[in-house]
């Protein structure tokens, strides 16, 4: 017993000392944080980079766009991430936080992602407009199309929303408010839908208070059971859609692309969520994806520039690159050239 005890104490002390000696990390492994939408693309590039270059494979963390930006802007030095992925553009507030710390940012737009409203193939193919989406999902809607009077959303079926739609109960499975997909969906579909009402549109333009009021109306999704928060996991939403052919799910285009045998994307403003429609800007609910590089780190981590080069290379982000295979919608040629130059010449982002 005594021997075991002694042995144990020795092992513990040796391990503890070793652990504190080892905890000083001095390598130049790239650290990436941010959006879960950009995660599949960022990791694909990281893996390819790790295989092809002499450097270690970068670590990519899934923290969400906002969380990633917070970590990214926390400071300069090896304990802070080098790159932040984001499924939306950096906000002016975040930019200010970053520059106050002396961080210089390079912004690279990598492509687009469509947000699909899809249901089971066994169900009806929905033909929606952003106005229908607003009328079906907003918590408060105008009394009629010219009125500025609001009412609690009374619609129970899609037919109530628009007589051309089938009399199916409104059931929409979507991501929770913490998700970037939800932000983009609200920003793109709901706001556009709300703007189709002249009275609301005017309210949004009128004054500062009006703008806030408009935002409140357009951004608030009803909570009476028609919209169901189904978690961040898009695979789970698809499984639920298969079980309930009347429900519509909201998720990213890459998940639709992988599951075309099970679900169908609804037509929105007379465009199907297809690769070409999103690319040409015909499909209304599509957002830009970005990553942000900390320019201050480029000198201390030579691998960082190489990673950015790999990401913006024609074989990755280009119109036929491997990221496109993964479901990324590529930039137009002009935009691609612009961001290629930005990355080659390390042009800093300035906020106007």
């Amino acid at each position: 017993m005594k021997n075991i005890f002694k042995l144990f104490v020795t092992t513990v002390s040796i391990s503890l000392v070793a652990s504190f000696l080892l905890s000083a990390d001095a390598d130049d492994q790239i650290k990436i944080v941010g959006s879960s939408t950009v995660f599949p693309f960022s990791t694909a590039v990281a893996e390819e980079f790790g295989r092809r270059s002499i450097y270690k494979t970068p670590i990519v963390e899934q923290t969400g766009s906002g969380g990633g930006m917070k970590l990214f802007c926390s400071g300069i030095g090896s304990q802070h991430p080098d790159i932040a992925n984001s499924s939306r553009r950096i906000k002016s507030k975040e930019f200010k936080n970053c520059t106050e710390k002396g961080i210089k940012i390079i912004e690279i737009k990598i492509g687009y992602d469509g947000i699909a409203l899809a249901n089971s193939k066994k169900g009806h193919l929905f033909e929606l407009t952003t106005r229908d989406i607003f009328l079906a999902l907003a918590a408060r809607i105008p009394l009629d199309s010219d009125s500025s009077q609001l009412q609690k959303n009374p619609h129970q079926t899609w037919k109530d929303v628009n007589p051309d739609l089938p009399g199916i109960k409104i059931e929409v499975l979507g991501p929770p408010p913490t998700s970037g997909t939800r932000d983009a969906f609200v920003e793109l579909a709901m706001v556009q839908g709300a703007k189709s009402f002249p009275a609301l549109d005017q309210l949004g333009r009128s004054s500062k208070d009006g703008k806030i009021e408009f935002k409140k109306i357009a951004h608030t999704i009803r909570e009476d059971g028609a919209f169901i928060e189904a978690g961040e996991n898009d695979n789970l939403i698809i499984q639920k859609l298969i079980q309930n052919p009347n429900a519509i799910g909201i998720f990213g285009f890459s998940f639709l692309d992988q599951n075309t045998d099970k679900v169908q994307g609804s037509i929105v403003n007379s465009a199907l969520p297809t690769f070409d429609n999103i690319l040409q800007g015909k499909y209304p609910i599509s957002r830009s994806l970005f990553f942000y590089v900390k320019k201050n780190h480029i000198r201390m981590k030579p691998s960082l520039k190489e990673y950015v080069k790999e990401f913006t290379s024609d074989s990755a982000m280009g119109p036929y690159g491997y990221l496109i295979e993964k479901g990324l919608i590529p930039l137009s040629d002009d935009e691609y050239m612009k961001y290629k130059t930005t990355s080659d010449e390390l042009i800093e982002l300035t906020f106007e």
């Binding site: 905890s23 963390e61 996991n233 295979e325």
Partner: protein, 412 residues
């Protein structure tokens, strides 16, 4: 009257037994459903279809270095030679996408290990991409219209032709067991995550076991009973019920932000999980010490043993089975934990297999989470396979606890 009462009691007894049996059956069938559906979904993850390609390296110029050889081109040429009739560029592109993009790196590794193959013709097995692989496994419904499946008509024809050539083989997927994470489902494996989990748990054990056991011994045998120790006791019991994510927040604030430890490393993961495991170990150790009959202690003291000798010679050995069980159950809980790891950066894509406590690593439950969230269809099977492995490891850990207890149990 009494007979009636007797019968009534008998019936109640029977009903009670039946309820118990029903509960058992319900619980067991739920477990069976979970494991069964997992196992069913996991089937496609355990094998991979490979294509046997003839690689012709006889024309390689001798002065080019091993790294400079165009391995991708070699594989492509070999594949194209099987389809001499295809000349269209875009079709050739599509054809070359049937095989995994990892193949060229596998070939490169093979040549670096066996340089004697340069200047020779030989056969080499390459992996199919996840979509082609799922086609061979029968998960692609060719009766659907072309636009609704991941494999189009051309590819169906090609894949069937390759199969008819006898070059397609079905092999056990060693990648699943030996690789780290990857974006390509056919390459991804859970070995990196398993090693990460083991290192993390090792750190947890090393820290929480001695601290927990000594705390318990002190509180049980040496501490004076007063308000302060009561307060500490309440707090320890309370900590055992705190949601695990709180420990993650604590770890983020203390270890990473205050002490400046790096993110995503098993050292911090182990520290956080040991905070979580400590209360469990303290509580079980105390109850194990309490269950040692006081006569043992009194006898030792009567023979002139010091307090310390009583503890180390008599109480601890007798309580050890209970302490082991408690520790192992605490560690098993830590092993299956993912929430606190989220905040300290262990929910990350990490390809390299970690080798020490300061290498970036992820953990098995986190790997399951990342795969479950990936769009590629083939990851569904991988998710289930990793879940089965996690459950299997937990069963082993708990079995060890049972065996240790049985082996060292002392009956009074």
């Amino acid at each position: 009257m009494s007979n009636q009462n007797f019968q009534k009691r008998h019936r109640a007894e029977k009903r009670f037994k039946a309820y118990g049996l029903i509960s058992l059956v319900v619980a067991a069938s739920m477990l069976a459903v979970i494991i069964g559906s997992m196992a069913y979904k996991a089937i496609p993850a355990f094998n991979n279809y490979t294509l046997n390609l003839e690689i012709d390296m006889s024309n390689q110029s001798t002065n080019s270095t091993i790294e400079d050889i165009n391995y991708r081109g070699l594989l492509r040429d070999s594949l194209f030679s099987l389809f001499p009739e295809i000349e269209d560029r875009s079709k050739k592109r599509k054809l070359s996408k049937l095989i995994s993009s990892s193949s060229s790196y596998n070939l490169q590794d093979f040549i670096i290990e066996n340089p004697s193959y340069i200047n020779k013709k030989f056969y080499f097995n390459v992996l199919f991409t996840d979509d082609s692989d799922l086609f061979y496994k029968g998960y692609v419904d060719t009766s659907l219209p072309e636009s609704e499946r991941r494999i189009d008509d051309d590819e169906v024809l090609w894949l069937e032709y390759l199969y008819s050539l006898g070059r397609v083989k079905n092999k056990i997927s060693s990648n699943l067991f030996l690789n780290g994470d990857s974006r390509e489902p056919e390459v991804a494996g859970f070995f990196g995550a398993t090693i990460g989990s083991l290192i993390t748990i090792f750190v947890t054990l090393i820290l929480s076991f001695p601290v927990g056991v000594f705390t318990a011994i002190y509180l049980e045998n040496f501490a004076v009973k007063n308000r302060l120790t009561d307060f500490i006791e309440v707090n320890i019991n309370n900590l055992a019920a705190v949601p695990s994510i709180i420990f993650g927040l604590l770890g983020l604030a203390v270890f990473i932000n205050f002490f400046g430890m790096p993110r995503s490393v098993p050292l911090v993961g182990g520290l956080v999980l040991s905070l979580m495991t400590l209360p469990t170990i303290i509580i079980t150790t105390r109850s194990a010490l309490q269950s040692v009959p006081p006569s043992i202690r009194e006898a030792a003291l009567a023979m002139g043993a010091s307090e310390m000798q009583v503890v180390f010679h008599h109480l601890l050995p007798a309580a050890l089975p209970g302490i082991f069980t408690g520790t192992i159950i605490g560690l098993a809980r830590a092993f299956g934990e993912s929430a606190p790891l989220l905040l300290i950066g262990m929910v990350a894509f990490i390809v390299d297999i970690p080798g020490s406590i300061s290498d970036p690593a992820t953990a098995l439950p986190v790997q399951i989470y990342i795969w479950a969230d990936s769009p590629e269809r083939a990851f569904v099977a991988k998710t289930s396979a990793a879940t089965l492995i996690l459950i299997g490891l937990l069963v082993i850990i708990n079995l060890v606890a049972v065996i240790l207890r049985k082996r060292y149990e002392v009956k009074w």
